[in-house]
Symmetry: C2
Subunit: 686 residues, 2 copies
C-alpha cells in the first residue's frame, strides 16, 4: 500500500514525527519546508476563491441555506450548555485511528463528503470543508451548495484557524469535541485562534453532530473481541505489561494511559472487528504498577477473552468510565504518563483540572503554605509502546512470513486467472478485479479481511496515487495500458501489503523505461546494508536516484511500518524524503519498499514488497557496531515483460532472477494446476 496514505487523518505516529503544518504527501511540501527553514519566509497568503464559488456561479448567490443538517447544527449553538459561534468537526475518532467505525464518521454525515480526510467547520453564517488534492473532485460532487470547499495545500487557501481568525469578530467562541482532537492538536488550534482572541470551548459532554444525527446514527460496533493466540503474539500479556511497567518505573510515573487502538490490542494480545481493515477494538488501557484496567464495551468481551484478561491481571471497566477513572487517579495523587500526540484532549483536560482541584484542596488543608505536598502530575512524553510493538519478536515474524506465503499463493492464482480473462476479452472493471482478488484471498486459511481499500487502477487511474475505484463509475481493465494493483490482507497470523504493476499487452518503450527505473529503486532499497541507528530517511534517496537520473520522481514516501496482524500503517519508523523522522530502523521492524512513478492522465507504476530489518552478514564491523539489512517477506513475481534489460546492471538482473528463484521455491508448494504453470512461467530467469 502506498506509503503515505494515512494523512489526514494523520495517524498518531505521523503526528508525533511530522510538523503538523505540512501539507500532506506532496513533494512540494518538502520544498516549502526546506525553504521556509532556510529563509524563514512565510510566503504570501491570499485567500483563494473557493472552487465551489468558481464552479457554481449563480446558485451561490442565493443566500438562503437549505442544508437541513447545517441549520440543525446552528440551532444548537445558542443552547445554554453550548454557547458557541462555530463548531469544528474533524474526521477522527477518539483514538486517532486511520480507519474508524461508521458511527464516528460525523464529518461525513454532516457534510455529505465521504472521503477519508477532511475537516468541516460551521459558523453562524458559513459552512466550509477542508480536504486535500486526492478528494477535490469527490468533494465537489458530494457537498451541497451551502458548503464552501477549501482546497488544502493549494496556494492561498487558508488553514481552518486562519479562516476562523479571518471571518469571525474577535473573541469568538469556537467549539470542539475534545475527544476528537489529540491534546497537541487542540493546543495548537487554541494557540492559533488566540491570535484573534478567540476561545476554544471543549464540549466534552456531548457531540453536536451526534445530537442532530440522532436515530439514524449507526450503533457503535459491538462484535466480539478475540484472543490473539500466543503462538502468533510470541510474548504474553504479563510480560508486555511488565515491560511497560519497567518504563513507568524509570520515568517516575505511576500510571500510563494507552489510547491508540493498535497499542491496546498489541499489549493485551487481543484483536477485534470494530473498524474496517484493522483488527482492533475500541478501548483505553490504563496501566499502573500493580493494576491494569481495560475500558471497553463489556458486551464485546467473550468468556475466553475475560479469562485471558483475568489471568493477566487486567480488570474491565465500561468504555465510558475512562474519564471518571482519570479523575480518580488525580485524586489519588497519580503521576500520569501522557503521550499528548495521541491521547485526546478530553482525557488530558479532565486530568489537569482534577489536578488543580486536588492541589488547591491540599493547600487549603495545609496550615503551613511552605510545606510541599507531592500532588498529582503528568509527564508528557512519547509512549514506549509504539517502538516495542514495531520491533517484532520471532513468533510475530514467523506469522508474518507464513501469512505472506498464503497471500502470495492467492495472488498467483488471481494473476493467473486475470491474465486469462483479459486474454479472452472478458469485460472486467477495476472493481470486478478487486472483488475477484478478495475471493482468491478468502480461500486462504486464516484470512480475515482486506488490510485497506484495494487500489485497482487501470491506465490513467493508476496515476492517481490514492485511487479507489467506485462501482459503476470506473474503468475496464484491458490490455492497452498499465494496470496497478495495491492490496493487502489481514490474516490471523499476519498483515500483508503488496503492489504489482503489469501490462497485459505490449508496453511502450516509455512505460518500460519508467518501470525499470522504479524497479532499480526498489532493488537498491532491498539490497542496502546500513549501520545500526540509521533513520529510514537516509535510505530514501536510493529508491529515487535511478528516476532522478532522467528527471523523474514520485510524490510519496518510500516505506511505512507494518503491524504484525495489526494496522497496515504503523510507526514509529518510515523511509521518506521528509527528514523529520529520526527513528532508527531496528532489527525486527517491518517496512514497505514501494517506490513508484506516476504520469498524470497516462499511467502509474508502483512495486511494493514488505521487508524485515535483519542483522546483515558482513565481514567487517567498523565502529564495533551492527550492520543491518533487509529480508523480503513478499514473494510474488514482478512482470519481466516490463523490464528494459539494457538499463539493468548485471547485479540488478541477478537480483531479479534470484528473487524469482525464491518465489518459485517458497510459493510453488502451495499451488497446483494452471496457477503452478503460471508461476513457473513467471519466475523464469531473464
Amino acid at each position: 500500500m502506498e506509503a503515505t496514505l494515512s494523512p489526514p487523518p494523520l495517524s498518531a505516529f505521523l503526528r508525533r514525527l511530522l510538523p503538523l503544518s505540512l501539507p500532506p504527501l506532496l513533494l512540494a511540501s518538502r520544498h516549502l519546508r526546506v525553504s521556509s527553514c532556510a529563509h524563514g519566509s512565510d510566503g504570501d497568503r491570499i485567500v483563494a476563491r473557493p472552487s465551489s464559488e468558481l464552479r457554481r456561479g449563480i446558485r451561490e448567490n442565493s443566500s438562503k441555506v437549505e442544508d437541513e443538517k447545517i441549520l440543525s447544527l446552528r440551532r444548537l449553538f445558542s443552547r445554554p450548555d453550548v454557547g458557541i459561534d462555530a463548531y469544528i468537526v474533524p474526521s477522527q475518532d477518539a483514538h486517532q485511528s486511520e480507519y474508524i467505525a461508521e458511527c464516528f464518521r460525523r464529518r461525513a454525515y454532516l457534510s455529505g463528503f465521504t472521503g477519508s480526510a477532511g475537516t468541516a467547520v460551521v459558523t453562524k453564517d458559513k459552512a466550509a470543508l477542508w480536504t486535500d488534492g486526492r478528494y477535490f473532485l469527490q468533494a465537489e460532487k458530494e457537498l451541497s451548495r451551502d458548503w464552501t470547499l477549501m482546497r488544502s495545500g493549494t496556494r492561498g487557501v487558508p488553514t481552518t484557524s486562519e479562516w476562523l481568525n479571518d471571518i469571525l469578530p474577535p473573541g469568538a467562541r469556537i467549539g470542539i469535541d475534545p475527544f476528537l482532537f489529540s491534546f497537541d492538536a487542540a493546543e495548537e488550534l487554541k494557540q492559533e485562534i488566540s491570535k484573534k482572541n478567540h476561545k476554544l470551548i471543549l464540549l466534552k459532554e456531548f457531540n453536536l453532530v451526534d445530537e442532530i444525527w440522532n436515530d439514524s446514527r449507526p450503533d457503535p460496533p459491538s462484535k466480539p473481541t478475540r484472543v490473539h493466540d500466543i503462538k502468533y503474539a510470541g510474548v504474553d500479556v504479563v510480560s508486555k505489561l511488565s515491560y511497560l511497567r519497567s518504563h513507568l518505573g524509570e520515568s517516575g510515573c505511576t500510571a500510563i494511559v494507552v489510547s491508540m487502538l493498535d497499542e491496546v490490542a498489541w499489549l493485551l494480545n487481543m484483536r477485534g472487528s470494530d473498524v474496517p481493515h484493522s483488527p482492533v477494538f475500541y478501548g483505553y488501557l490504563i496501566v499502573e504498577p500493580y493494576r491494569a484496567t481495560l475500558f471497553v464495551d463489556t458486551k464485546k468481551v467473550t468468556k475466553e477473552v475475560l479469562n485471558h484478561l483475568t489471568n493477566a491481571g487486567v480488570e474491565l471497566k465500561p468504555y465510558e468510565s475512562v474519564l471518571a477513572e482519570i479523575e480518580s487517579l488525580a485524586l489519588k495523587g497519580a503521576k500520569l504518563w501522557l503521550d499528548t500526540s495521541s491521547v485526546n484532549a478530553a482525557i488530558v483536560s479532565v486530568f489537569r483540572s482534577a489536578c488543580e482541584r486536588y492541589s488547591s484542596q491540599l493547600n487549603n488543608n495545609s496550615t503551613n503554605q511552605s510545606i510541599h505536598h507531592g500532588g498529582p502530575d503528568a509527564v508528557y512524553q512519547v509512549s514506549p509502546v509504539a517502538l516495542a510493538k514495531a520491533v517484532k519478536n520471532n513468533a510475530e515474524i514467523e506469522g508474518m512470513k507464513n501469512a505472506h506465503l498464503r497471500d502470495a499463493a492467492a495472488l498467483v492464482e488471481f494473476w493467473c486467472w486475470l491474465e486469462k480473462e483479459i486474454e479472452n476479452n472478458v469485460a472486467l472493471t477495476e472493481v470486478d478485479v478487486a472483488d475477484a482478488l478478495l475471493e482468491f484471498r478468502q480461500k486462504q486459511e486464516g484470512f480475515i479481511e482486506t488490510s485497506f481499500n484495494t487500489i485497482s487502477g487501470y491506465g490513467a487511474n493508476g496515476a492517481i496515487i490514492h485511487y479507489r475505484p467506485i462501482p459503476g463509475d470506473c474503468s475496464l481493465v484491458e490490455n492497452k495500458n498499465l494496470f496497478l494493483l495495491d492490496s493487502g490482507a489481514q490474516y490471523v497470523d499476519g498483515t500483508t501489503d503488496i503492489t504489482r504493476t503489469v501490462h497485459f499487452g505490449e508496453p511502450s518503450k516509455r512505460q518500460k523505461e519508467c518501470f525499470t527505473r522504479v524497479l532499480q529503486g526498489h532493488i537498491a532499497i532491498d539490497e542496502v546494508i546500513f549501520p545500526e541507528r540509521t533513520p529510514g530517511f537516509v535510505l530514501d534517496v536510493l529508491a529515487r536516484s535511478s528516476l532522478w537520473k532522467v528527471g523523474l520522481d514520485y510524490r510519496h514516501g518510500t516505506g511505512h511500518g507494518v503491524g504484525a496482524a495489526l494496522n497496515v500503517h504503523e510507526g514509529p519508523q518510515s523511509i521518506s524524503f521528509r527528514f523529520g523522522n529520526l527513528t532508527a530502523l531496528q532489527k525486527g521492524m517491518i517496512v514497505s519498499n514501494e517506490p513508484g512513478y506516476y504520469e498524470d492522465n497516462s499511467f502509474g507504476i508502483r512495486i511494493e514488497n514488505l521487508l524485515l530489518v535483519i542483522e546483515a552478514n558482513v565481514p567487517n564491523a567498523y565502529g564495533g557496531i551492527e550492520y543491518l539489512g533487509f529480508e523480503k517477506l513478499t514473494f510474488v513475481p514482478i512482470q519481466t515483460k516490463l523490464v528494459e534489460l539494457s538499463l539493468m546492471s548485471p547485479g540488478e538482473i541477478k537480483w531479479l532472477n534470484d528473487y524469482h528463484g525464491q518465489v518459485w521455491e517458497k510459493v510453488s508448494p502451495l499451488l497446483n494446476g494452471e496457477a503452478l504453470d503460471w508461476l513457473s512461467k513467471n519466475t523464469r530467469p531473464i
Copy 2:
C-alpha cells in the same frame, strides 16, 4: 582536504547549522544525537580522570605550580578592573576564522599546546585544556604538568561549563574576551554557567593573555591588501553592495555588520595575507543604505585598493574604531542586522547597551510616556552574504577551472617525480614530499600559497584523518604501504583541494577492496542527479553504501563548500551524515567529494575531487523543477593499480575511463617530457 577539518574552531557556518553540543567529526556523535533525540536520554556523566594524571603519576602530586604564564595570568584576576575567578581562552580570533594570525594564537601561547583546536581555562587553582581526539597525543607532549588535559568527546569528560559548574563555588565570576566568542556562543556559555549562579564577565577593554604575552607577542599582520581583479571576481563591488542593500531594505534594517573575513573580502573584491592559507585580511564592514565603511588597519590599504574602494563608495576607518561606530549607529537610531552566529559578543553587547541608553534618554525626554519612539533595534538573522558567496558566478567558475588545470599540471609533475624517486630508493619523509609538492605548485602561474596544511600520510599515518607530519618526527614514504596526500593551493584565480591515495609497490587484496569501495562511493556522488532544493546530506548515503555493504564506513563528512580564490572551507552547503544542514545544493555552488576509509594503525584511503553544481541535462522535468548534477573541477589521475576490477560495474569502469580521458584531454596540453609520458601512462583505459 578532508571534509570536516574545521571544527573546532567551528567555522561560523558550521556554528549556524550544527547543534553546538555535537562532538566534532565522530560518527558516534551522530548516533548519540539520534538516540538522544529519539529517547531523550541524557547519558550518564562521569568525570574521567584526566589523561595527564593517568600518565604522569607522581609528578602530578606536587601542588606547586611552576608554569609562569599560569601564575602571571592568575595575578591579573584580582586587579580592580578585572575581578574574576576564572578566565576562558578559546582558539578563535574576533572573526570566527578557521586560520588565524600568529598574534591571536593566545590559547597556544598560554598553554603551549599548538594544535588548531582547543580551549584553555584557568581558575585560581586549576588550569585545564580541552581538545579533541585528533590532538590528544600532541597535547600530552606539549602541555606542562600544571595543565590538566580534557579529552573532549571521550565518555565522562565534562564540557568547559560543566567543569566550571562543578569546581567553582556558586556565584563565581568567569571572564572572557567577548571579541573571541560569537554572541551565540557567549549566550550559550552564560546560560550554562548560570545553573550554578556563575556570572559571565565580558572583559572587552583588554585581553589578559595579551597583557602577559607583552613584548614577545608578534605584531599584528600588516602586509598590504590587493584588489581581486574583476576578471576573477565577475561582479563589481557596487553591484554586490547593492544586492546586500536590497536584502537590508527587505528586512527593514538600516545597517548590517559583516565580520566574517571571507565575506568582507568577497563583498569588496579584495584579498589579503593576514592569516595562513586563506587570502583574507582583518576587517569589519558596515553597510548602510547610502554608506559602506571598512574598518581595517589603513596601513594595509595601498593606493590601488584605496581607489578601488573609493570608486565603490566605501569609506575607511581604523579597525579598532568599529565599537565606537556601533555605538554611534545606536545613537542614530539604527536598526542593525546581526548574524549572531558569527558576529562577536563585544559588538552585540556594545550595541545592546547603547540601545538601552538611547531608549532611556528618549523616555526621559518624553513627557508623555505612552508615545512610542522608534529607538534603535537589532534583527538577529543569518547574513545573506554566505549564500551569495557560495553561488559562484561565471567568472569565478572560469577562474576555478583554470586554477584547477594548472594545479593538475603541478600534481602530475609531482607524482611523476615522486614515483621515480621512490623507484630509485631515495629516502623521502612525508614532510619532504609535501615540500616538494609545494615547489611544483610554486612554479605555476598565479600561485599564492597552500590552501591548508598538507596532509601527507604514509601507511598508518594515513589512517589519522587530520594527520600533519612534523619535520624530524615523521615517516618515510616507501613502496610497502598506501600513501595518502591531501593538499590544496590558493591561486590568484581559484582555490584547489585534492586528495589522492597511491601505492608505489604491490597493494594487498584488502587495500584494493577498500580503495575500490571508496572509489565507488566517489563515483556515486559524482554521477548523481537530484531535484533542486535537495540538501547535501540527502546524497551522503551514496558515498557510503558500497562500504556499508561489507560493514565499513568513515567518520567524517563527504563534502564541504569551497570558496573561489577564498577559504578552502566555506558554507553554507555541505554533504554530510549530519542531518542538521538543510541548505539546498544550488547551481554554481562548489563542493568537495571525498569519501574515505581508515584502518587504524594500518592505512588510510581518501579520493577527493572538487565538484561544481550544474543544471543536469535530463529528458524530463517531473514537478516542473530543475534537476541538478555535478561537473568535475579536478583533473588528476586516480591510481588504477588500486582498483579491484571484479567489484566494479561496467558503468563504474566507464566512469573511470571517461574521467581519465578528460584528464588527458585537459591537462596534457600543459605538460611535456616525462610528465606528459606519465600522464599518458596513467590515463590509459582499463
